[in-house]
Amino acid sequence: MATPLLDVRGLTVRFRTERGELTAVDDVSFSLEAGQTLAIVGESGSGKSVTAMSLMRLIPDPPGRITAGQVLFEGQDLLQLSESQMRAIRGDRIAMVFQEPMSSLNPSLTVGKQIAEPVNLHRGTAWKRAYLVARALLERVRIPDAGSRLQTYPHQYSGGMRQRVMIAMALACQPKLIIADEPTTALDVTVQAQILDLLKELTRETGAALILITHDLGVVARYADRVAVMYGGRVVEQADAATLYARPQHPYTQGLLASIPRLDGEAGKRLVPIPGSPPDLARLPAGCAFAPRCGRADATCTASRPPLRALPDHHLSACHHDAL
């Protein structure tokens, strides 16, 4: 089998907080092929965003620290690179699209300059030519009147348009991997669909892989090829999207799917909520993090953490009851 584009092995990230040290990402592993879309789903505190930031080595240290693991990108461990080597990769071969375009764009630089900058920086393209690339990119993300838009500033754009600018920036150096952290959470639903359709279409055209960080199980179903479900800093289930929705194995995944109303479900039928609330990472239980909310939990679950075990169809699940 060919080397995957991205192979994350045993990634562990710890944070020092007022309430002691906590493990935000605990022994997380996944891999991704070129052209694939992997969704990392989870609720607040699940570790999904910290995972994304760690891949780019963007965790502020202190308080955070990557304490273990490997992030093999095209066979090279990003965690072993110097900061300047890492800078050469960020925005070039790996690009990121953030949730809040307004806070990730520089308000005092023109949109043209911000898109042209990585082209100039990473490719050594002269500014004049880099602006031409920027213009082509704005057209590609379907910003009307791209030529005259180069000289405008982020505040002159709507939320959806800003996110298009972010995507244009991300695409500037034809990255192999795009990491999108809740890219549409702040947007209206019709605009959300436009932006995600665009991202998906562009990755199809360029062959880039996409990591989509989200809490929305509908978005995952529509756009992802493969899914990793995170809970309490760990991946508790991982499978191809079709398999995960057809045969969810982990009680947390099953619970999530049963607790959300669906547009095509039986209207008004009582939802089955998951009792309790997501765990506090500073006070994780000794055993399975989901055990306090799980209907199937027994003495084994509270005593020991279930490892991620392989099931048929490239399906992984971390539950002591999987063997049943």
């Binding site: 209206d188 019709t190 436009q194 359709d197 809490h215 179903a221 109303p261 547009l263 009582r270 909520p273």
Partner: protein, 351 residues
Amino acid sequence: MTPSEAAAPPVPRGQELLRVEDLKVHFPLPGGGLLRRSAGAVKAVDGVSFTLNAGETLGLVGESGCGKSTTGLAVLRMLPLSAGRIHFEGQDITAQHARGATFRRRMQMVYQDPYGSLNPRMKVRELIGEPLQVHGLAGDRAGYEARIAGLLQTVGLLPDMAERYPHEFSGGQRQRIGIARALALEPSLLICDEPVSALDVSIQAQVVNVLQELQERLGLGYLFIAHDLAVVRHLSHRVAVMYLGRIVEIAGRDELYRAPLHPYTQALLSAVPVADPAVEAQRQRVVVQGEVPSVLKPPPGCRFHTRCPQAMARCRSEDPPLADLGQGRAVACHLHSAAPAPRVVPIAAAA
């Protein structure tokens, strides 16, 4: 029986509880110059009419800037009305002063943010009891304590939680405290503005179920304002879709979701992904371009024509009225001004 169940609602289930007629909420824009003359107005809500029966949920959906939250606040009279009439429990409350008025006991609000809407320095007992104190309904000590305990039980919390502070609770529990507080004055109408959207996915269902159970038990009417179309479908009996200050379509839940008539409703439903890759793979989608225009300068004619895939010449100049198509359904679209010809956009293609 908890005290909240003792008082029967004066409007029987199925009878009209709230009627809103041609509601307008305009915010004047300060103009420049010496005289600071107004430079026009933001027409946040611009001619909205609907009714709501006791025991019924009307979902109010739309994207940001459509006026759904402003409508809720205006019904509560927390914002001044520019025009229109509001009838509640058979009375015209348009001219009544909101402060201290009886109707303000009978309609209560459930807020979006369970973190920001509860005073962190008050114990749960005080938070829930405050409305009773304010309205002078606290009564004797024993009765008051029993009332607080009853309210906590009503929303699925334990009576001994009354001694705790909001930070000791999870988001879902806090939202239930907010609901208990809203129920303290025995309202007949709850205005719920995005009551679950700030909550984690796994706990939204806890609050959704509490709202459903309360309605069944107490016969409350809900004006349920939300952008999540799946949650709205789950809880609502009828749904109104808003766009730039207007209702563009209103219909019974099943009719609206099965065969949306307005192109905006079709696009909105189509944009929402279903949590099932098998369904998504076969789904026909209606895609609209662009974003919601600024409410400061709504387009002339039909306000949706700039994004509508079916816009005609007439739509650019002529504003379509909300035409009653019978059976509780009304649509503001030139395609449907006469007899209805529903275009069925199924969620899943027929097998």
